[in-house]
Symmetry: C2
């Protein structure tokens, strides 16, 4: 939640050797289209805590996460917060129907995004149904994840929530080649609590409990997963 002084990458960039090329929206585009897209997007840097966009803001851009992790959250008027997701490289943000964002997004640590102004990007999609199909695919995948998360929030115990979160987070990082049995957790305990519908104390206690049980090992900036099978059993998957 710092003042908003973002950095725009000065020189050109090329989509063709972009790290997320293969699994982001862009995966649906051919070399020629990619070249065109290059002119529409600009790379923008955010530092830890910077807000990328806020709920209820008029949507002006789409964002393609290139690097880093973002917190996606909604606030109640009295300050209660629910984190509705974490965005990782390859995630596409900014879709909506009301013309306004329906959640806020800020950076956990340094984040690099590819930002597209809404109107030109909208035009670009216009006559490229395969891109639209790709965007739809991403939306449907998110919807499926959202429903899984509803089950977690509504019907799981604190132990199950934490175990399921650690396994799910690890799985996501694995698919990006960013984890092994040591799982980095760039977000704070408070973030985890707000994602799981718990308090920070309960999250902390549950971590300690899982460590006592020999399921995980708490390390700097993350955990070591010692007993995956046991963790899966606890998650009631």
């Amino acid at each position: 939640m710092k003042a908003s002084l973002v950095t725009i990458e000065p020189n050109g960039h090329s989509c063709s050797d972009c790290a997320v090329r293969e699994f982001a929206v862009c995966s649906s585009l051919d070399a020629v289209e990619l070249r065109e897209l290059e002119h529409l997007g600009r790379r923008v840097h955010f530092t830890a805590g910077q807000i990328v966009f806020s709920e209820e803001d008029i949507t002006t851009s789409f964002y393609n996460v290139l690097d880093g992790v973002m917190r996606l959250y909604k606030l109640l008027s009295d300050g209660r917060r629910q984190i509705v997701g974490f965005a990782l490289p390859g995630d596409f943000l900014g879709m909506n129907i009301s013309g306004r964002h329906n959640f806020s997004a800020d950076a956990i640590g340094a984040v690099r995004v590819c930002q597209f102004a809404k109107t030109p990007f909208g035009r670009f999609i216009e006559d490229r149904p395969h891109l639209l199909r790709r965007i739809n695919e991403l939306a449907i995948r998110e919807l499926s994840q959202a429903r899984d998360h509803m089950v977690l929030l509504g019907r799981r115990s604190a132990d199950e929530k934490v175990a399921a979160f650690l396994l799910g987070w690890r799985e996501r990082l694995l698919s990006l080649g960013m984890a092994s049995d040591t799982v980095p957790l760039p977000m704070s305990r408070q973030d985890i609590a707000d994602y799981l519908g718990l308090t920070i104390e309960t999250v902390s206690r549950t971590f300690t409990k899982l460590e006592r049980l020999g399921v995980i090992e708490i390390i700097q900036g993350g955990i070591g997963l010692l007993d995956t099978a046991r963790a899966e059993a606890l998650a009631a998957a």
Copy 2:
């Protein structure tokens, strides 16, 4: 959860005078396309409790709800249930990426749907980007609702959950012209509990409490909304 004996409407039907024509996926189609679509869909009836599809089933169809209310839910292995939504006329079901449904759906009372076989409907979409855009729009709207529901499940008290549910349900029915200050509740208390991440007892007690407070009046098959402002305050909207 009855045996599966669905009824298929015998004679032809016409999309042009369909009740959901204006707000379902079909709203994106012109008269000619509508005529074509007519041949792809068949109307199917379900009676109370009949399962329309189950989680993990291979997707074979898309469904357009014409009439009635459906329960959309996910089960945990030990029987805990989370209702992820209620489908009403105009809702479009069957989108997924894995080729399998990611939740189950059954009928609350009598339901009529327009069913489209996956492959031909997929082909129909193929060269109709405006239909794809419409489907995307519906997916994004659902995603937004899903996120709102996450906030409710993760961060709201029982009172807030129930109040927010009643107001939200009323709002949806209003937009379909199916409610006024008396709000029909076709689903059971257990369904409401499983939707809100509560127990049936807590839901029942909260209804009674709201009635004592003069906010609602409990009637057969629904409630009367007596004090909307108060309900909104309780929902912490």
